[in-house]
Symmetry: C2
Subunit: 521 residues, 2 copies
């Protein structure tokens, strides 16, 4: 099919030679940029010595380190003496937060972070709390955008630090950093901006007090992060420290990686505008066509304020791990919306904070140089893969609530279990299944009960979809589940298919009952 104008004509970067399959997980780690590789090799030859030493190898290393610092500072938008290199973006966040919190300990121990920050920010917030501090999560809307009035209201006296990412790593939503910084400035609170996902595209707006980033996100080498601390920001580095990196990060510096990080940051910035436009067109195509090609799928994140290269969508009735595995088998490397540090497939805290579907979540993040052909190929295989996974899970056919009987027998609760008795009782008299005061077994006036306890998502939603047709319109089905993801996915299923989500109540015998009223018509 013909591709939209502007994409076909866009400049195409060559695919990196070692990417033998389309790699669509740039937000986890980008392949090494050729400039980074070149700079790393040169710096390994010229900058292996200790830059703190006085001999010629040490002085040569020091010159390289100074030059790398200047280049990186220019790209960040700060002074070289405000920037230090750390071993990772996580290390930059951890030491930046610890240093800022300790520096303002006298002001208070209150920490405000957006609820969609990277897990490393949340880990540091939890550590702060364990050490006697307190932290507060600023909410986001359904697109993942920071709720600015709520954020501002959290910046109460005693707030030592606030953290807002420049753009989200799972959804691509770009945060209102300038507005958040203005609110912080008014309240006299320093703002730490985690720019890990966006620094390769552009410098975040000014106004931040601390900024962190991670080189392997823009095609720099692993093993290097950036921490910038504006002059005038109170900062007391976590102990122990030494004389390295202005006393802000201890240990022998990873100089070759710093050089490669700086060189590649400059390089990717030079091509950022063109490449962002090109990838944005490809992402627009994915955003438009994935929901059209794959039924019961929704795109997650802000429609306009977003990173150029990243799109996330969620598919009903699909197991995320199975989807990843099948896409991988078909030659596409994607990620699923969990934290950046694991594929544990617990529901992502980001999707949870947004209140959107976590089921069958797929993050596509295109590395620079991704070809249109690969995106088209992805669009070509995705519908069949989703359908295959759905079929293997006996999911309902797509398109909305099913009124006819399920093609396969619904999963049976074990013989003699309370849920089975309950279901039999209610199946016999759906209209009469009203809650009994003080001792009812059908929660919330449900006309039918689906006991999906002990089953992982998406099974609870699949079973709900199969059984909703068993009750008349206007009546309630209770889904019992002990999978945390059901709390997100059942309401979202209702929203997507037009049923009413009534609410949740603890289920007798454990787990939670999610109550769904079948739509009329």
């Amino acid at each position: 099919m013909p591709a939209p104008r502007g994409v076909l004509t866009a400049r195409r970067s060559p695919r990196l030679p070692f990417l033998d399959v389309p790699y669509f997980d740039a937000a986890s780690a980008a392949p090494l940029h050729p400039v980074a590789r070149q700079a790393l090799l040169a710096a390994l030859d010229e900058g292996w010595a200790d830059p703190a030493r006085l001999h010629r190898e040490g002085r040569r290393a020091r010159l390289l380190l100074d030059a790398a610092r200047e280049t990186a500072a220019e790209a960040v938008g700060c002074r070289p003496d405000e920037l230090v290199f750390t071993p990772s973006g996580t290390a930059a966040v951890h030491s930046g937060m610890a240093g800022a919190l300790a520096g303002r300990r006298r002001v208070g121990r209150r920490l405000v972070v957006s609820s969609v920050e990277h897990s490393c920010v949340l880990h540091a917030a939890e550590a702060h709390e364990e050490a006697g501090g307190e932290f507060h999560l600023a909410p986001v809307d359904r697109t993942g955008l920071l709720d600015l009035p709520a954020f501002r209201s959290l910046l109460r006296p005693g707030t030592a630090l606030a953290c807002v990412q420049s753009a989200n790593h799972e959804t691509g939503t770009v945060q209102p950093v300038a507005e958040a910084a203005a609110a912080c400035r008014e309240e006299g609170v320093p703002l730490l901006v985690d720019a890990a996902q966006s620094l390769g595209w552009e410098a975040p707006p000014g106004g931040w007090s601390l900024l962190t980033a991670s080189a392997h996100k823009w095609g720099g080498p692993p093993g290097i992060g950036l921490l910038a601390v504006r002059k005038g920001t109170r900062f007391s580095p976590a102990r122990p420290v030494d004389e390295r990196e202005s006393g802000r990060f201890p240990g022998f510096p990873n100089l070759p990686a710093a050089v490669a990080a700086a060189a590649s940051l400059r390089a990717v910035r030079q091509e950022a505008a063109d490449e962002a436009a090109r990838l944005r067109a490809l992402v627009d195509r994915l955003r438009a066509r994935v929901p059209a090609l794959v039924p019961d799928t929704e795109v997650v994140g802000h429609p306009g304020l977003r990173l150029p290269h990243l799109v996330t969508f969620s598919c009903l009735y699909v197991d995320g791990e199975a989807l990843l595995t099948e896409l991988d088998r078909a030659g596409f490397s994607v990620s699923s919306g969990s934290s950046c540090t694991s594929d544990t497939l617990v529901p992502s805290h980001v999707l949870k904070a947004m209140g959107v579907l976590s089921e069958g979540n797929v993050r596509v993040s295109l590395p620079r140089g991704t070809s249109e052909e690969d995106v088209e190929r992805f669009l070509g295989v995705l519908p069949g893969i989703v359908a295959g996974v759905r079929s293997s899970l006996s999911a309902p056919v797509a398109g909305g609530p099913r009124e006819q009987a399920p093609p396969q027998a619904p999963p049976q609760a074990p013989e003699g279990s309370p849920a089975q008795e309950e279901a039999q009782e209610q199946e016999g008299s759906p209209e009469g299944a009203v809650p009994r005061e003080g001792g009812g077994r059908a929660p919330g006036g449900a006309a039918a009960v689906v006991d999906s306890r002990g089953k992982r998502c998406p099974i609870p939603v699949i079973e709900l979809a199969r059984r909703i047709g068993d009750v008349p319109p206007g009546r309630v089905v209770a889904v019992l589940s002990d999978d945390e993801a059901a709390r997100l996915d059942v309401p979202e299923w209702c929203r997507m298919l037009g049923h009413e989500y009534v609410g949740e109540t603890p289920a007798e015998g454990g787990g939670t009952a999610y109550l769904v009223r079948r739509a009329h018509g």
Copy 2:
């Protein structure tokens, strides 16, 4: 001149191509081993992805990381699941100490470390103390060897951790790790062995509970360290952590560096026995010939229990920085006995703990492949360089106390200063310059006073050497100094030249008076 047998016949490794001058500072950082370079490049191509991801790039990265861990664990002498990669040796030490101290917090908060540990160990000990813990320094003898009975006596109840390095980074002295581990085992105290300087040569003896190392010391890349924690060792990692590296070190792992570190560790170990023998012969030559060629110089460290590639000596009447600069100008890169993290030229805590001369300290640490010719060239230029620096500082000519008048006028104290008056008074009647009770200006019964306050070492010792001939044998000269290094260097000067060091006393008007009794004959 003919070199000793066994050295000429020893196998010579080729000098690494990018070492255009003899680099004798391997203990700071070794040039990248060719195997490390090769492995790093391969791992950058194959292992740039996130090893926690499920797609093929992630799985490939995970395989590489697992293989690197197995290789490194084999070289360390532990199980792969006992070993994690950290961003540096310093990070390994800091997280290892913090984790072990926190894991045994209920036992007590007492920490015992040898007084010659690397500064990163001492920094962590200070941080522990700042956080409410306590730490105790175990003494060493004049050769830098741990005083085992003193160490054992410090392992009192409530001791959470002890730290003993495998070998010293400044003197090369190899510590009795097996004996220290046995003492710790008897007292039920875990032992952390910092093996940074020795792991490239051999695995330290077993018995340790935690072991740390740094890849760039053996020719691995910068940006990678090792932390091994034996099963059964109580360990509670410092927060924040994530799911990386068994929850022991957070952040995106530097996988290419880990692969290169492991590969190069295996490579250097394969050639370690031959290369150690070859370098030991070169170091033996330096140890024998430097004191013979350069008067008033002594070799520091244990004569037998030492690393194969490292020798440290100290030269009287020489400024360390000037010596380094002149050696650098002559094409030799060496280091001076301060901490590994700076050339601040404050007296080294190691030399101080040993109680040896810190003046004019030079550490020569030969990288693998150092040629005999380069060592001979070094021996050829060193005497002239030391003599030149001595001459520029108006140091006395070598060979012992001078009885004749100095060739140049001694430095004058400012007109009308108390010291000048004192000197004049004493010069006029040296025999009568006895201390006056309650208000004497000549400290400690000195017959002459040399006021070197405001002058950095080696000037105080140079001025002492010039003036000692001004008093009769058996009489005392007081050297006034506010340079901390004088506390080490004046007694050592006495020991080397046969005078009696009487002691020190606070000087009127600031600083310290060091009292020296001129030898008879």
